[in-house]
């Protein structure tokens, strides 16, 4: 059993780290992108981005005003008090960091002012029998979230169909999700699972190798092809359209091939904590292996 107070404190700190500090893998990918660009306009965009990232960390303020919806991924023994502690932490973080009050009623558009409300924040719980509790947060801004897509492919379309759909999503989104983006792809499962996998994929470090050799190959090919499009930083042209492609898969019905895409903006924010029963907490922005 974990102390609710420790979980609440841990989640406030996770939100602050995720919002104010770009994970090191993403910063390296942006620095690498800058070294690839030669034209003034794409270079100007990446220079502003890196300067902004540095200043946000120095001042401990959110790097982007769209502090997003904090999507939580929790692994451990289920206990309803974990979700209650997460909600209290979101309430506090909204005032303390501060976060922009983003969540509204979908019909009346009324804003609760505290980033809570029915269904908010989303918490994906994966029950395990391990002694520690892993909490990850992925704050997701609307600029990129609004380009999420799902397609139920015909199984005969195969790998080429998957590839085509991901390219179409990135081309269709164009300048709007704040490229260079990170492309999360979920393949298989049921429709709802494919979407959840595409989000979960965004938690893996950029540049890490996918343990599945087939997915690794598709990721590499797509990364190269997407960067040949010339969309560039902020859609103003250039060599860097995506910072990486990250895929997850699950088995699916023999007559189905679901594919989902979740784009993350260049501000690909994430933070991880591992809480031990004795109250020790470890933090990371690249996850635990």
């Amino acid at each position: 059993m974990y102390s609710s107070a420790i979980i609440e404190e841990t989640v406030v700190r996770l939100l602050r780290e995720a919002e104010c500090r770009l994970p090191p893998d993403v910063r390296r990918a942006l620095e690498n992108a800058l070294s690839q660009e030669t034209e003034e306009v794409p270079r100007s965009q990446l220079l502003v981005i890196l300067d902004n990232v540095r200043k946000a960390a120095e001042r401990s303020v959110p790097m982007c005003q769209d502090t997003g919806v904090p999507v939580f991924f929790v692994r451990g023994r289920y206990d309803v008090r974990i979700e209650e502690a997460i909600r209290r932490a979101v309430y506090r973080a909204t005032e303390e960091i501060p976060l922009r009050p983003n969540t509204v009623d979908p019909v009346s558009r009324g804003n609760s002012g505290d980033n809570l409300g029915p269904g908010m924040p989303p918490v994906h719980f994966e029950p395990t029998d391990e002694d520690h509790l892993d909490i990850a947060v992925l704050p997701k801004g609307a600029g990129s979230e609004n380009w999420s897509a799902l397609k139920m492919l015909n199984p005969s379309e195969g790998v080429d169909g998957i590839r085509r759909f991901v390219i179409d999503c990135v081309v269709g989104a164009g300048s709007r999700p704040c490229p260079p983006t990170v492309v999360g792809v979920g393949v298989g499962g049921t429709a709802d699972m494919a979407i959840a996998l595409s989000k979960k994929a965004l938690l893996r470090p950029l540049g890490s190798s996918n343990p599945d050799p087939e997915l690794r190959e598709i990721e590499g090919a797509l990364h190269q092809q997407l960067n040949s499009l010339g969309l560039g930083p902020m859609g103003l042209g250039g060599r860097t359209t995506v910072l990486g492609v990250l895929m997850e898969k699950a088995n699916c019905h023999t007559a189905s091939l679901p594919v989902a895409v979740s784009l993350n903006c260049w501000a690909a924010r994430k933070a991880f904590a591992r809480v031990h029963p004795d109250g020790r907490v470890r933090f990371s922005q690249e996850g635990f292996r």
Partner: protein
């Protein structure tokens, strides 16, 4: 070449002198308006009622900031939002209120581009997510209207001091960098 400095409010002639591809820094009066503020402004305009702020010749900023209040309002984070969301409202908005420049991200539709040509308005692309750089360049809040719409959707009147670098991405002469890049991207995508 050092980047060009521009100041809001500005004349239609100066707005028309901005050309796609230029990099500029913006000072002076900037007003935020997103979806909800566009809708309310247009409702008032259709009823023939005045707005509580002046937009003519000013910079319209597609932005929903994070603000903090101690004695006065202070800008915490204020990067641009996706301008395309306002496309269906912008033609009527531009004709009714005539801002000189739009600051946003991601660009706008060909219909909006045409209206920009009609009234003499340029679209300045600001790096999406550059919220801290923006806050630094917005040292003073001059006022806020329509706070009932919520912090992101209210109209914030701010003073800018060298906001930028901004890329003139759509000009009043019918050029749009976004559409030029997009058209190239579509042709390349067909080959993949």
């Amino acid at each position: 070449m050092s980047p060009r400095e521009i100041t809001s409010p500005m004349s239609e002639q100066e707005a028309r002198s901005l050309r796609a591809g230029e990099i500029v820094f913006l000072s002076g009066e900037v007003l935020t308006a997103r979806d909800e503020a566009h809708i309310r402004a247009l409702e008032l305009s259709r009823e023939g009622r005045p707005l509580p702020f002046e937009m003519h010749g000013r910079a319209l900023y597609h932005c929903g900031p994070i603000m903090m209040r101690d004695d006065n309002w202070k800008v915490v984070a204020a990067g641009p939002t996706t301008s395309a969301r306002m496309d269906s409202l912008e033609t009527e908005f531009l004709r009714a209120f005539r801002p000189s420049v739009i600051v946003g991200k991601g660009g706008m539709s060909l219909e909006t581009l045409k209206t920009m040509g009609e009234i003499g308005c340029a679209y300045l692309a600001f790096t999406g997510g550059a919220a801290v750089i923006a806050a630094e360049a917005l040292p003073e809040v001059l006022g806020v209207e329509w706070e009932d719409l919520g912090m992101p959707e209210a109209v914030w009147r701010m003073r800018a001091e060298r906001l930028g670098p901004l890329v003139v991405a759509m000009d009043s002469h019918g050029r749009s960098l976004f559409h030029e890049v997009e058209s190239d991207v579509h042709s390349r995508a067909l080959l993949l």
